[in-house]
Amino acid sequence: MSDQKTKVVVIGAGPGGYAAAFRSADLGCEVTLIDERDTLGGVCLNEGCIPSKTLLHLAEFIQEYKTSHEFGFSGVISNDKLLLNKTREYKNNIINSLTSGLGNIASRRKVKHVKGYAELISDTEVSVNGVTINFDYAIIAVGSSPVSLPNSPINERIWTSTEALELREIPDSLTIIGGGIIGLEMATIYAALGSSINIIELSNDLLPDFDKKHASIVKKSLIEKGCKFYFNTNVLKIETLPNKLTIHCKNDSSFTIDSDIVLSSIGRKSNAGKIGLENTLMTLEKGDIIPVDAQCRTNISNIFAIGDVTGMPMLAHRATHQGKIVAEVISGLKHKFSNEMIPKVAYTSPEIASVGLSESKNDLGIKIKNTSFPWMASGRNLASNGGDGLTTLHYCPDTLRILGGTIVGKNASELLGEVSIAICMGSTLKDVALVMHAHPTISETIAFAAEKALGTLTDL
């Protein structure tokens, strides 16, 4: 017996879930959006993308300020309590303004927002707060949570990114276990705030998803900011002492690192196991990943899944696009989601961003050549104290079509969009070179990289 009925129920109000709900409502469906939080936006808005970018902005500012003695400022920053309180307030204000904005957008669309823990009880019913809601279609968008460290005690001095972004304190020493994108972003923030940083990584290098030449610029910069890397290193156990944590490590030899705080960022895992899927005939892969087709449909034809629960790459913009596709599919359109052009960004200092094919990411064995323009030759970059950077286009040597791009440098994430458009519109190096870019800008480096390969560059 169902208490309520809705056409579409969306479980999880992160960037995938709310996009799916809003698009669905725009296409004329009656939508119920369920989330445990008071506010919409999920991890991304509440304790992920947005708060981390707020703190990264602060980190950037501190970095800039430290060089301001060149202009006669003191360039000295005291990390007192007031600063932390103010910073938390600043960050929370931004989160509040965005989440309340989302709430308004939801009510304007007449999307019914239910706060509570949702559990599927059949292929057509979900239970929330003791109320059963019958649905025609369900969209599962419950995201992911941090993987907890194996063999690690529960201790308030062992953080995940969630605690790190709460800005509880600025530790003298912070040891980050897992040198992925999240770990490196936290390293960037806390290094700027004054912590001495250790990064322990199981593999032999950082940022394996990015072209090596570019990743090494990020690595060099983090080392200059005081980050110490331990590659090929296993964490055996963490010992909690009254005033510190001792991390027992092993690479070629065994050693220990003492640290005030340990930040675990060894990955995220799908939350699909938490919503009663056992009451349906849903099949899962690798334990908790929901396999979906090109329309994000699960093996149950009226249930769709989007975002982190559908596996890698766990990125907000992927979830958003999937969410819109699903809403359109439910409304009768035959749209499909394509995995091919998902941009990847690490908001480190400097940022690193890539899209499309590159030499290191080329399963097809097709011919790919690179052309790069170094930011040290960009007037705009030097004028704004931008530091090191590199813009690279990956292209087909026969047709000169642009197949991918990797950019490292300040605000690299912002430049990547131009490369995405160029690839998606089938542009060649010549197209990009012939498009007039404003001078002086960092975006010129994209045109310069193209011109370099064409032999028409006059800026190098």
Binding site: G311, M312, P313, L333, K334, H335, K336, S338, N339, E340, M341, G356, L357, K361, N362, D363, L364, I366, C396, T399, R401, L403, I423, C424, M425, G426
Partner: protein, 302 residues
Amino acid sequence: MNNEKILLGTPTAYQFCDDNGIAIEMVAKALSKSFLSVEDVQVFFNTQSLAKNKSSKNQASKYWDIDHAAFGDIRIESVDNFSKITAENLSAAVQVIPSVTHGDNFSIQKINDFRQQVKEELKLQNRSLTLLPFIIKAMSKSLKKFPKINASLSADGEKLIYKNFIHIGVAMQTEYGLVVPVIRNVDKKNLLEIIDDLQNLTTLARSKKLKQEHLGGASITVTSLGKIAGLRFTPIINPPELAILGVSKTLIEPVWNGQEFLPEMKVPLDLSYDHRVINGVLASHFMTDIGNRISNPELILI
């Protein structure tokens, strides 16, 4: 996660293909292109669906998709494939070709006199002479004089293809539907040969023995309802030909000779032509030329 591939079109081109259930790989291959704009896939799709006549079936005809049984007793019979193909071709012709029909009546007094004169002789040869062979022969003479009508427009509308041969299609009703076998090289054949060709094609058509060589490639088609009834009709062009001549039942008209009305036997002819290529003046001249030859059959025979 490793799904990287070289894109075959713009995002909109991909979405258009998804929406319409076509594989972009297939379109790229068909057009021999490495990258497709949304215009490329739209034009490809429209051309395809026009050929299949899908768009008209799905859209226009939805308004007459009604429940006939609601109005009384009905019987339902499936349309056979042969008729379906004919229907699709005719629908495409009507949708694509802006056609005009030009009609006139022409005296066949002299042809009838001539037929009377040779009737006995032909009977001995086991042949009979109707009006149609005269019309076919007259058309071939006129086509030679007006080469622009003996042409076809390329499918993309970019080229006009002139034909240095004269083949005339003759629409024939059979038990299984309408067929248009073709009399080849009419300009090089005399009336007797045309009579024989017509007889031969009629036999083949009725016994369902027409082969590929008997069909297609005509300069023009003639379709005759002459033995049945009707004053006029507007035949549909058989593409890629540019014109079709319809022949209706002969009639007797009073003609003023300056002093009195005299009865005269006439044949009504209706020429439908492709206005993209042929304008009204050319069509009138062509029609008058055919009529002149029919009214004065000595012009056919020389």
